[in-house]
Symmetry: C2
């Protein structure tokens, strides 16, 4: 069995495994000569559309494993009969940590303190703590749960909302979210981007949020209608912390960059040192399962 992986460390894992596996390195650069034999393809992380299009040139392919949770870009390239698995769970720690860091930074006033630091100004002031706040998490999957665990440790109250209500898990449906939005101090978006969630956070959604509330987006930029968010933050009625934007990257002259009360980070939710060890564990496990003819995890198509 031939497996393509995008990191040297993953090649080492394949060599060390008990399975009869031949591995090649493909990181989005030069295409290995073994393309006619590859059965299990680990798509390089955030390396461009050509890494998806290559799937069409792999005649013996059986499994496409992404290293992202989202798979909307690769899905159209996966032939029938080939299984597509995503990286559910791999980015939870990194993304949830960023979400929580952005909430603390916004509520406790880090941008103002960091600016004051440039001027050598000791500008003590009382700020809002995360403790005692009500945080609505929209999207209660793997990342949403990871955010919740961290917020509970911070003594916040969490309200769970998803597109579909799951009463057995205490998850409200989005159609019932109106009064919950009005009570939330912070709203965190942790949904996948789908036809249903594109533009979900529109003028009506934002208007339902309470005065002074914080919107945090660590999901996908296009879930929020930027043109609806802009007047709310420009007026100072809402504040925001956005790791993803629409458009993305945000052009240098875009007004979101310089809105007071808005933090923008450049889509770094999943991109930290916690990624590679968790990605290696997933790929090792998936290759073992495939070699042992056991069920794969995270099969999404």
């Amino acid at each position: 069995m031939r497996v393509w992986v995008p990191y040297e460390e993953m090649l080492d894992d394949l060599s060390a495994s008990a399975n009869k596996v031949q591995g090649d390195l493909y990181d989005g650069g030069a295409v290995p000569e073994t393309i006619d034999d590859v059965e299990f393809y680990v798509v390089p992380y955030m390396s461009g559309a050509h890494t998806f299009e290559l799937v069409a040139s792999m005649p013996r392919l059986r499994v496409v494993q992404t290293l992202t949770a989202g798979y909307e870009d690769v899905l159209p390239h996966v032939p029938s009969g080939v299984r597509l698995c995503n990286a559910r769970g791999v980015h939870d720690a990194s993304t949830a940590e960023l979400a929580v860091g952005l909430i603390i930074a916004s509520l406790r006033g880090f941008p103002a303190f960091f600016r004051a630091q440039l001027d050598g100004a000791w500008a003590h002031e009382r700020r809002v703590s995360v403790a005692d706040r009500t945080v609505l998490i929209l999207g209660y999957g793997s990342v949403g749960r990871a955010i919740e665990r961290r917020l509970i440790a911070l003594e916040a109250s969490v309200v769970r909302v998803a597109r579909t209500a799951r009463p057995d898990e205490g998850v409200f449906g989005i159609e019932d979210a109106g009064p919950l939005l009005a009570d939330a101090d912070v709203v965190v978006l942790a949904l996948p981007l789908t036809a249903d969630t594109r533009g979900l956070v529109d003028a009506g959604f934002l208007a339902a949020m309470k005065d002074g509330a914080l919107l945090v987006n660590v999901a996908r930029g296009a879930i929020v209608r930027t043109e609806a968010l802009l007047p709310e933050v420009e007026a100072g009625r809402l504040v925001a912390a956005l790791d993803v934007t629409d458009p993305e990257p945000l052009p240098p002259d875009h007004p979101l960059w310089r809105c007071p009360g808005v933090i923008v980070t450049p889509h770094v939710g999943g991109n930290s040192t916690s990624f590679l060890p968790r990605a290696r564990r997933l790929v090792r496990d998936q290759v073992d399962r495939y070699a042992g003819r056991r069920d794969l995890r995270n099969v999404v198509a």
Copy 2:
């Protein structure tokens, strides 16, 4: 029984209580005329030395209750026979949340992202996550435990160190900290300032920390020898996040303000919205205990 409290909300709590308590508001401004009768004095929060010195003019005083965890400044003014109680626990949530926020901000590169935001620059880069890091907490009291709970939720490993080893709690003594310091990615100071801890983080301590490690101080500035820290951060061998400094406030021209890799916040660890509800709960409970002739909590002298 007459009680002085520094907040209107605390006066309301006294009025609502079942105890026969007469309350006055003293917030560090005009001194109430009832000074000859006050038995229970809640010292105004961070309001200056005159609020400690006033203790000498209270002939019927029995209890001094601070709203800070540290009590080094008020202690010399408390006559024998008067009990001194501190605010252990009141600031845990606020301070621990700030410590964790500073760790995420430093490791995940918030200062650089916030500066890039001023220029409208989308500067994506891989950063170090808190997850998988080893964090040494020096000082394992109430705040140290609160920091630990939050770090464990963030998937960090915690090493507990205190001035005195407590093997039953898994707490190492400071005299054994050398090899632990060499392994820690982050060192968080959560100790009280005492004669023993003043200047504890000196050149030798800092030299024992590993290259690139982060020092976080949410305790008291004078625990760290600033003149020993400066060359380490100026050389880029260590990074730091300091909510407290020595001197404090840091003068506008102090070199710490502009060291690369150093975050300074203006002593805001305890000063957030989570303070007042927790301070009210403590004062309500202490007045009830005093009125009911039960043991007071947090008696420190």
